[in-house]
Amino acid sequence: MRNKTTFFSLVLIIALLAMMLAACAPAQPAEPPAEQPPAEPPAQQPTEAPKEEPAAPEKPFAGTELVLASMTDQYVAAFRYLIPKFEEETGIKITLDELGYVDLYQKLTADFVGHTANYDLMTVDIVWSGEYAQNKYTLPLDDFMERDKDELQLDDIMPVAWTLGEWEGQHWAYPLAGYANVLNYRKDVFADAGLEPPKTQEELLEYAKMLTKPEEDFYGIALLGAKGPAVAQDYMVFVQQHGSSILDEQGNVAINTPKNVEVLKFFGELFKYAPPGATDYWWDQRETAFRSGNVAMMEGWSIARAGYENPDISSVVGKVDIALAPVAEGMEPKYGFGGWGIGINADSENAEAAWEFIKWLTSPEVQKDWILNDGAPIRRSTLEDPELNEKFPWFPVLLESFEKGDGDYRPRIPEYSIIQDALGTTVNAYLVGEMTAEEALEQAQAQVEAALK
């Protein structure tokens, strides 16, 4: 019986395979992967010099489609608002793909190493600068900047903002949104207690302790404790504020120094005066805790400031002020600086159009709209703009933080993500009592060293 079926089954196989190919074909030519050695990855050299485009009168890039990968940070609202305007002006179409912090890093890396060029433009966290430069994930923008320097008004951009994407003299991302680490505090609570906002780290701890009233469900400070980037980054803020560093003088990774252990213990001490769930806080939840009025203080990125005055999401409208972030006693004040650059995928075929968007978005005229719609500043002219200062009375604090800003407290080196991954697990493990402070940093150091081997 079986033998007779041979002919029919052959016909059937062919029919099925044909159907399969037919169905796959529209997406991509999909020959079944035969047992062949995997093809060489396509040679990827970033185009050295931007092509000289003939200066077309208007809308030279009309019809170009770009995909922008954006972190779902506050400024994504500004993207949503501004992109249609840009599309109208230039005829370039931009698709916005919004991704959370962890997903963004993962998706972008996958896009780069797979050379799939799904994204033309991407928001680049300040800490990815070194990694992106070393691996040439994004296009160096220096040639563009040199060519268009007359219209860019580069001098107007705050010096510290260049750390958003600069690495060893080249620009792998262009400044997009500058954040200052500032202290947010509850004016009403501090007035009731007869306190001034803390100027030093020691005072910060002292006041956090004083203001904590667990029986009223009110806590001194909100912190980031969730395993992963959140806790690692918050810990590094305190490392900076205590005048310590994750790197030694030669630039080698030196996590487990006695000084850093001390800072970690301080960090752990602060958590006693944070809401009990804080060891699980991600940015969204820390912000929500502060906005719902359960904590007195929060060190955080300045971009969130405007949201405290929005009654739709905040219970503390009119009760919040910001101050410079406190540093350890006797330390030369330096303030944590962070934020996002915007880069062009080295594999993108639309680099010119993408650059057009960057240029437009960061121009002084558009920057005002950017700020008014939840963006964050990079230009001195924006920070000093009288109209914006009236609307956002905390801009002088920002300006001062930017002027004394330190964009390198989280080492922007190529190995940053590995350091963050190690600290993200071990610092959290310390906070929940799985390890001692010494063990935590010891293991982080070992993990980084093993990963770099």
């Binding site: 079926t5 047992e35 190493v113 797979g114 697990t425 071990t426 493990a429 390890m435």
Partner: protein, 281 residues
């Protein structure tokens, strides 16, 4: 011979990658490396894996997760099957409602439970507090609670499946032994203990092995809830492989870890098949 299209498909699509995975596990192969070179390492990836506390910890966590989910689900599933065994219209309707959890995307299940567990705004810690039980950092935040909390999510989703399997098993039981037992004056508890349970043994085995295999696949709910934390309390091997391979793109090492996982699972799978074979006879 109708088999061949599928066999060809499987060999090309599934078996070839598995061999490829075996092959690259002997190399240092990092996609983040600009040249993406492969350096032959021999067995170094495997040796490093067993020296790496993160990996051994992840294996231990995986085994705890699997054991925890399987034991609780089988006990609870049998209980539910007995509870809902009656063939009335009401129990039939309730049973179909109970099917919902297992058809849901595990990612959604994870996210929903994450918000229920949230220590500041979540429903569960709130009511526990009302009952005088303070969860401190919350179910997902405390070292000793995180794993049970994640296991409970899996239990919620998959116990109904075990119930369904046991219901099928119960229905296939013959009536005669019960009649005989009743004549002999056995209590219902006795007939459950001495008749039902022994006769359900094949069903037990099937449920046990099926859930064991499925539990080893857990990823989505860990991704959605804890990300492997606090510390590394809920980092299961799947999640660790994902981090190594798909976040840091160390493909050689990830392939070696994946093969270790495959070996563990294959051993169990073969056990499963042997049991099935013997049942058939």
């Amino acid at each position: 011979m109708l088999l061949s299209p599928l066999l060809i498909f499987i060999v090309v699509i599934a078996i070839y990658p598995l061999f490829f995975s075996f092959y690259i596990s002997f190399f240092k192969y990092r996609l983040t490396d600009p040249n993406q070179t492969r350096t032959f390492l021999g067995l170094a990836n495997y040796i490093n894996a067993f020296k790496d506390p993160q990996v051994t910890g992840a294996i231990a966590n995986t085994l705890i997760f699997v054991a925890g989910t399987v034991i609780v689900e089988i006990a609870l599933g049998l209980g539910l099957a007995l509870l809902f065994a009656a063939e009335s219209r009401r129990t039939q309707m309730l049973r179909s409602w109970m099917l919902i959890p297992m058809a849901l995307p595990p990612l959604v299940v994870g996210l929903v439970w994450k918000s229920l567990y949230n220590v500041d705004f979540g429903v569960i810690p709130y009511y526990l507090k009302q009952l005088g039980l303070d969860m401190g950092r919350g179910p997902l935040g405390e070292l000793q609670w995180a794993m049970p909390a994640v296991i409970l999510i899996d239990v919620w989703q998959w116990t109904p499946l075990i119930m369904v399997i046991f219901l099928a098993g119960l229905k296939s039981l013959p009536h005669e032994p019960y009649e005989a037992a009743r004549v002999d004056g056995a209590t219902r508890w006795q007939s459950f203990w001495y008749i039902t349970l022994p006769m359900l043994k094949p069903t037990f085995l099937v449920a046990l092995l099926l859930r064991t295999m499925q539990s080893f696949k857990v990823f989505d709910i860990i991704y959605a809830t804890t990300g492997g934390g606090p510390g590394s309390a809920t980092t299961v091997l799947n999640y660790h492989i994902y981090t190594v391979g798909m976040v840091f793109f160390k493909m050689g090492y990830a392939a070696a870890l994946a093969n270790i996982l495959l070996i563990i699972v294959a051993a169990l799978a073969i056990l499963y098949i042997i049991v099935l074979e013997r049942q058939q006879i």
